[in-house]
Symmetry: C2
Subunit: 214 residues, 2 copies
DNA sequence: CATTGTGAACGGATTCACAGCC
DNA sequence: GGCTGTGAATCCGTTCACAATG
């Protein structure tokens, strides 16, 4: 078994970043890497990186470091990217288009198998047709899709979510600015970009106030 | 002064969500709201909401709750959305387009004043022309832009960031899958959508494993 | 002897429980 | 009586310091 304990969310959030850095290192033919150097590349502390990895096993060699390819392999397995995960995009506005394009193209770890929108027929991308939402249930059943990216407008988000849940979704990346109601066993990650921008503005304004205060 | 202590990041992250919920409540003509109901609307606990707000002052009435309009007003001030913040978008691919469209349109709290790309001339959105990157320094100086959304490809991200920093940026919402090197006083928030999707897959695969285990 | 792996110490964030107030 | 505001208790994640080891 790969997993020892259940890893905390905070750890899981960092795993894809380690993976990304490893991919870059491997591309530069780096074969061994210490937690110290990983620290510089990621911005996390070396102790934290070692501890994060230790949740899943002992992948390094004392006195030496981590073998980049081996560690990458393990991370792929841990995250669940070793087998291509089928993903659908629901909502084909600019954001849906951006996500589809990016993940169907450059991101070899995931497999976007379907794109849905209220208005179908629009030209899709990467060889994918845009299907109407009412074909979603049949499609999900047939393809056994478990993960969706949701980029529909806020007022449609809950209805679409209900439909996804009915048809067996287990995880949703939600870009709509609403709290989705889902059963306990469905994992929702909110990626509301408006919210993130506003958080940013908090820090930008804080700076200003500090300057004024001096 | 609005701010008592410096609020923890965890609190700041939630403020825009409170704001969003308040906007919805006000639209539905709700005038008073208890932390309990806010809890249902946001998914955070009532205690947490009360504590979060308490970092900035006592905005409620004991025995009654919070006045929605008043609380909204205070949150706007706290976050720094009371005065329109000027924002630029750098990188006008699909993602840049989606962000520009969304924030220039529906999001009345921010003001996108400029859009930049390596290839200008493309038709912009919402009355904004897409300017070439080399006009960025002059533009930032003139408009005193402090906040940027960065949606350029990974290999261009650091160079563009350096340019932004040179011209006085204080906060960057970074969508490129790279760790940006910036001075201490520049706040970077990473919104790497690939990373978020992979985190999601972790939880989706975890479910599968659990089912297999049983 | 450099670097991993990890128990112990620390610090920050959340939850609890209740005092304070309308 | 009901709900806010908050100190105290708890939980969780990070950092420290060092033992283990190739």
């Amino acid at each position: 078994m790969t997993r020892r304990n259940k890893a905390p969310k905070s750890v899981v959030k960092r795993l894809p970043i380690y993976l990304r850095v490893l991919d870059n290192l491997i591309r530069r033919d780096v074969e061994i890497i210490s937690s110290r150097v990983l620290s510089e590349e990621t911005g996390f502390t070396a102790e934290q990186i070692r501890k994060d990895l230790a949740y899943f096993g002992a992948f390094g060699t004392r006195g030496t470091g981590y073998n980049t390819s081996y560690l990458r392999e393990r991370l792929l397995r841990i995250i669940g990217l070793d087998k291509q995960t089928k993903i659908i995009v629901v909502g084909f506005g600019h954001l849906g288009k951006a996500l589809t394009r990016y993940n169907a193209g450059k991101n070899r770890y995931v497999d976007i198998v379907g794109v849905f929108d209220k208005k179908p027929g629009e030209t899709g991308v990467e060889g994918l047709k845009v299907l109407p939402i009412d074909q979603l249930p049949k499609f999900m059943q047939k393809e056994k899709v478990k993960v969706a990216m949701l980029t529909v407008p806020a007022d449609a988000a809950q209805d679409v979510t209900d439909l996804l849940v009915e048809n067996g979704i287990t995880a949703i990346l939600n870009f709509a600015p609403v709290k989705l109601d889902v059963p306990e066993d469905v994992y929702v990650h909110n990626a509301d970009l408006t919210t993130e921008l506003q958080t940013l503005i908090y820090y930008a304004s804080e700076d200003e106030k500090q300057h004024q205060a001096e």
